[in-house]
């Protein structure tokens, strides 16, 4: 008896309703259905099911609702990776895609959205294309194309039900990075060659981006909405710079853009240097967190950071907590805006629960801290159980019966907090 692929496919098709032509297949389908019927006659008791549900819902009320919006994990691999890992993926895919001669978006991957299975392929193809381009002008133009795509993706995300908010925020972050890199490169190219085309490209992009951002107005919440504000401000700065460098390069009406965005924060940079025509418009994206960490970055430092092509700070499970102050306003703009109030810094509050697996002597401790901690330090009160720095440490076992103290200290930029519990092992 051979188990050919045809048999396997025929069997599965028959299970799904296609009338089998083979007698053996028909017989096996009947067997399979009998197994299903028998299994269906076994059920957990209704009392058990409802009491378990009650217990789970009670626990869910404490575990789930205490988590704050900035750090929701999204289903899907792409969104939960930090920026370095995502770059690695994109580069890895890019290498393969180039090797297999698939440069150029095709088919399903072209319409993939963040969170889709094929999205890493789409991003990888972009990296591959970028690597084929030489020169600030070509690369800059391509980066702006990518940025436009990111906006289309965010729009697509808003049309899907129950999309994790973090996906939109992440994608908008990427948009800002690409918009910044792209316009930086084109400005550099213009300064070197004085070729109008570079600024025209920026202005064309700005027109599309303005529409794209406008379309998102009112559709986002939380971190994504804050990121949208920052993106609109960034675009206004880009437009202003382009207009200054080349007033008749097809610029859109800068006043129109400014009139549609909220008063922008322009906290004065301490010891503001005189304003040369540096690429100050191309900001690193402004992080959405309320905690402000004022940094006296000089434009020179910012340019250096841009040259490294590091668009964003390293992402942790909590949102980036640094806020870069915006650049000093160019002399053509009257400065009538007030900076937003900076909320008081909030240290985290430690909390956790530990549960034994049945009566096995094995324990799982789960973090339930609030206040956006960024670091965890667990110790379990016995030399044989190693300390852990993970948010949820791996399962562990105590060597002997007794009483043990579990300690968790959580930290973030604003402080630390400790909680303890005693575990008794019989």
């Amino acid at each position: 008896m051979s188990w050919r692929t045809d048999d396997a496919r025929a069997f599965d098709d028959a299970l799904r309703g296609r009338v089998p032509t083979d007698a053996e297949i028909a017989h096996l389908v009947a067997q399979a259905e009998r197994v299903c019927e028998l299994a269906a006659s076994v059920s957990p008791s209704p009392a058990f099911m409802s009491s378990l549900r009650t217990a789970l819902m009670a626990e869910a009320a404490t575990i789930l609702t205490s988590r704050t919006t900035p750090a929701p994990p999204a289903a899907g691999i792409w969104a939960r990776l930090g920026a370095p890992a995502r770059r690695r993926i994109a580069v890895g895919v890019a290498a393969l895609v180039t090797a297999f001669g698939m440069v150029g978006l095709t088919g399903a991957s072209a319409s993939a959205l963040p969170g889709d299975a094929l999205y890493p392929v789409k991003r990888g193809v972009e990296v591959a294309e970028l690597s084929l381009r030489r020169g600030d002008d070509s690369r800059g133009a391509f980066e702006l194309e990518r940025a436009t795509r990111r906006l289309a993706e965010v729009n697509g995300l808003t049309r899907r039900p129950a999309t994790a908010a973090s996906l939109a925020a992440t994608t908008l972050n990427d948009y800002s990075a690409e918009a910044g890199n792209g316009s930086d490169a084109l400005v550099r190219s213009f300064k070197a060659s004085h070729h109008r085309g570079s600024i025209v490209t920026i202005n064309r992009f700005a027109g599309r981006a303005h529409l794209g951002l406008e379309r998102l107005d009112g559709k986002l919440t939380g971190a994504a909405a804050t990121q949208l504000d920052a993106a609109q401000q960034q675009l206004a700065d880009i437009v202003a710079l382009a207009a200054r460098l080349c007033p008749d390069c097809g610029g859109i009406d800068a006043d129109l853009v400014k009139s549609l965005i909220a008063p922008a924060p322009s906290a004065a940079v301490p010891a503001a240097p005189p304003a040369p025509a540096e690429p100050v418009a191309a900001l690193p994206p402004v992080a959405p967190a309320p905690v402000a960490e004022p940094k006296a970055d000089t434009p020179a430092e910012k340019v250096a950071a841009k040259a490294d092509n590091k668009p964003v700070k390293k992402k942790t499970s909590a949102p980036a907590v640094e806020v870069q102050p915006t650049i000093e306003a160019p002399s053509t703009e009257p400065s009538t805006v007030t900076p937003p109030p900076i909320p008081a810094p909030v240290p985290p509050t430690a909390a956790f629960s530990c549960d034994e697996l049945g009566n096995s002597g094995k324990f799982n401790c789960v973090d339930a801290s609030t206040g956006d901690p960024t670091g965890w330090a667990w110790s379990f009160g016995d030399a044989s159980v190693p300390d852990s720095a993970q948010q949820n440490p791996p399962q562990f076992e105590y060597p002997a019966p007794g009483s043990y103290t579990v300690t968790l200290t959580v930290t973030n930029a604003d402080g630390a907090n400790t909680a303890t519990q005693t575990i008794t092992v019989n």
Partner: protein, 234 residues
Amino acid sequence: MSFDSLRAALAHALALPHDESLAIALASAEPTRIGGPSQMPSHRGPAPEEPSPESERLRALVELACDGDADAFGQLYDHYVKGIYRFIYYRVGSQQLAEDLTADTFTRALRSIAKYTWQGKDFGAWLTTIARNLIIDHYKSSRSRLELVTESIPEGPTTAPSTEQDVLATLTNESLMVAVNGLPSEQRDCILMRFIQGLSIAETAAAMSRSEGAIKQLQLRAIRNLAKTMERDV
């Protein structure tokens, strides 16, 4: 260059911690296959393959639950609890133990939903994987596999069989359990997931870290063996 080879190459070359999931997820991007009549799991046949309103709803629930929606988790529990219970019950043979492990499975799922990294459509597979690990842990720490034999008379349905038909059902349930557990472990798990729990091909593939084609072959092989065993016992 076929899509299959690209997928395999990507899965190998990326070598990420979740590359298995990525490979499986990419496999799911293939064009939808012909579908049959849509059926509830474990009523007359295994779960449907094509995306249905039901599967879309489940995906949305998973996203909500991951974002912290307790009610969504409750609805996922409602959908999956019987299947998980049956999977466990046919492995361990004891109603009490199956209840305990079912509770452990969902508790663990709730507590680690923050770290859920599978695709929204694979939630059932994820739960099954948790259940499998708990069963393994249980056997490691309990007396031995003989437990299944010593407790070999399963308690079966909660109400005592009152008619000849019921008695027959209990006996055939027993023989099914023995027959299933007599299979090689991969075939056994495939039967448990596909026909007792009611997972789809895609979910079973995700839970067992195999391709969908491999699962189709496995289920055919397993049913053939099972049929032989059960017919012999009649």
